[in-house]
Symmetry: D2
Subunit: 276 residues, 4 copies
């Protein structure tokens, strides 16, 4: 049976760029990490070592820098579209371009000075093909914790179950969300802000009977609050804080002392859409 | 438009376990990191907070420990199948179980003593559904470098291209490979060893006109050498070593001094199958 | 020449604990990572395998949990002193105890809910010996950036110098500071807040002719603003943002597009005291 | 009380360089990470913003590249001395130069091809002052594990002790060692190999009543086996593998199933010298 090249793609990952927009009264700052990935007619590259179709990944990096100069410095979704359009326009051998952008948090202290925010990132992904552009926005690593209002009870038990039911536990997660839109003509900034707000509001205000229900409620809240969002995926690791047994030391521990653990961790994923 | 739960899954990630098999003349050691993920009928968990269908992720962790006791300590693909069968058998509400296992490298020094190998991992993935079991094997983070026998020439240039063509460069990558089999009844250990061998042999012996061609040649070599493998995917980051310009210091640099960089990096992916 | 045990110490590192203080109207949250290290009369442990003097490091971890229950949840310097006194009191074989505590940032969203701050940590170190207690406070990983007001000119040049002088560059650092006090009877919280404030104010307001001068100015500002601080050490990595050359693409780059790099990086350390 | 600059130093950290030595029959490969740090007369830099004494850290990086070209590619201690001498010779304002070098492991597959070894590093540190050069060699992150031959019994217990005594446990560590020499005129390569060998032999062959005793025995073995070594420090984290309780599942666990944990971890340090 002959061997077939069933698929391939290539690109540049972790292209980092800082853009300073020098306004009259202040400087704005955007720090991005960009991935560029091409699919298309690259069979001869693989099978014959013929590089004529290959735009170097170093050129992708240069292009990110050059187009960053021309970008407004505002919505990363727009920068993603500009990159995708550029690469598709100049490269007929490419059928699909994927641009992933992560924006780090900087908090303004002054007109020209900033301090680093949390490790949360605003993300965008643009998948450009001939005649079609898909745009995704998202949040990565939004870490939240609540000290009460979370339970886990009434679950299935089998011979390997030792976990005790609890009506009051710490709930902590490092949320990732990613959603898409009903059209490409939306106000990305306000949508992102509103989606983040209702995710946080749901986390804070809703009682949690499980991480699953909380994840679902967050997705539902975004779809309700942001009409331009057509579907959303959420990933919530359960960053367990385990209650410490202080009884051997003659101390009770009414939900006061916990040990946070990184591994193992629960992992919950949901995908919500609107019914068509 | 009503909101729909279009998909969901949950499980436990990064369950770490060390199994010591205590033989008469020596101890064997296996260090694994296991992920377990369930799909199935969990709508009520998400929408109604009804946890009756949820086997706790803590129970998944306990199950990994208990079944590790009964496992032979040899092929991780078999351990994956044992876990998948156990979870499907006991949980009618689950339609699909995904087990991912990574095995760390320990090198024997003595009958009871070991030293850590590289960060390369042997990996297995088992996706068990009702009446069907898919098994994948793989390698993660196999780092290799060659100091010659790699070129990159004749590529496409545009207005943002500054990269110089080279007939002799360092080639370095941290390879990930993942393949599947024609049947579930194969000798996983020998297949894995043979696949790894021909990947390395291809890297060492073949001239590289591009990372793409090298990736393709590796996949082709595995499909040729291991008849039980039916398809393979390879991911090769290009871990660039940049030639340092020593001319300002009155020194030439005939491919002797390089600066290795982690970001940005090229990323090349290929997928090869057999023609049906 | 006989061999001598010239020094030794042992302890437990990375003991993580979360303390929730459940007040009537809100919960307070403290997440700490604690290191405990003992020095003392442990020669027989090393040379003869006699463990009678060794308090297990597992017991140190338990002690951190138990004393965390009794701690107020407020100043980490006080928790360090409580731990040091406990260990010295119960362990006559110990001559010196070192307690290091790092407190992670959680930002209150609500009475019971928090979101993670930056990776900056508040730190404390207590070194307790018979009849003496040294207390250090500090900051780790305070990341700041300014887009102007930083120059680097007039430096020494040799045959290996290629760096161009600049009157306007980005200045970015991830600051670590550590100071001690004139006495143990100070208000740790207000001192820490004030020290952090004047470090940030110096960064924002002072023109920087070098990272060195900025580091010195920060130390001077703390010693001036916080009379209880008797000496301070600051470590400032220079997190370089390199101006990208866009000229090959027909674009100028008046301090707008930079590439941030993690390695290599400059590293500047200063130590300031008051004259006696 | 006036404020005094009590100390300061500056330099470049994480300068990465790959040197390929192109011999007739094979290429040799050295991958280094170098830190350079200066102390000296830099008061005016800090207090007056006068940069005339400051050799830029960028020049330090260039110097590492240039001197790497001239280095033999063999002993990193010699490269450290060459760098220290160069910097001291050209910079009368510098009183002390510290050079730290870490060498990554590459394992030869072929004349021109290599695969990555473990994360263990060979290290060297050279501290050069006017008329004096201190040379240290070392090992970082040598990870070893034995499945038997390690006990921990007869230790001190207090009210917070819950650890059970064990006559047979897994012992695992990620060893760091650092030693110095009786003179600068030693064969660094053979000394390093021999020191590493006897450390491993001690780990494998000696029964361990505690990590402390094992650490001491390793130091003693190096001082006995390598006469040129005058003193040695060893740091051994106790990378705990905890025995899993399988009794709730009706399974016994005679030292077969363990969970490896990264935090918290024990930390043991010893310093051995020769009696004078």
């Amino acid at each position: 049976m002959p061997i077939v090249l069933a698929g391939n793609n290539y690109g540049k990952s972790r292209v980092r760029v800082v853009k300073v927009t020098r306004r009259a009264d202040r400087h704005d700052l955007a720090e991005l990490t960009v991935n560029v990935q091409f699919e298309g007619d690259f069979d001869a590259v693989h099978t014959a070592g013929d590089n004529r179709a290959v735009l170097p990944t170093d050129t992708m990096k240069n292009t990110v820098n050059a187009l960053a100069k021309m970008w407004s410095g505002e919505q990363i979704e727009e920068f993603g579209c500009q990159l995708a359009r550029h690469f598709l326009g100049d490269n007929p051998q490419v059928s699909r371009v994927r641009i992933e952008i992560g924006q780090s948090q900087w908090i303004r202290m002054d007109r020209y000075a900033f301090t680093r925010g949390s490790d949360e990132m605003r993300t965008a992904e643009v998948v450009g093909a001939r005649g079609r552009m898909e745009i995704y926005s998202g949040i990565e690593n939004l870490i939240v914790l609540k000290t009460t209002g979370s339970a886990f009870e009434g679950y299935k038990k089998d011979r390997y179950t030792t976990l005790k039911e609890t009506s009051d536990r710490i709930l902590a997660t490092a949320l990732t969300a990613r959603w898409t839109y009903r059209s490409a003509d939306v106000a990305f900034g306000p949508c992102w802000q509103r989606a983040r707000e209702v995710i946080l509001k749901t986390f804070v205000e809703r009682k949690s009977p499980s991480v699953q229900q909380t994840a679902y409620a967050m997705g539902e809240a975004v779809l309700r609050a942001v009409p331009d969002v057509s579907e959303i995926r959420l990933t919530l690791p359960n960053k367990h804080c385990l209650l410490v047994d202080l009884a051997p030391f003659g101390l009770d521990n009414p939900n006061e002392i916990f040990v946070p653990t990184d591994e193992p961790h629960g992992l919950i994923e949901v995908h919500l859409t609107r019914q068509i």
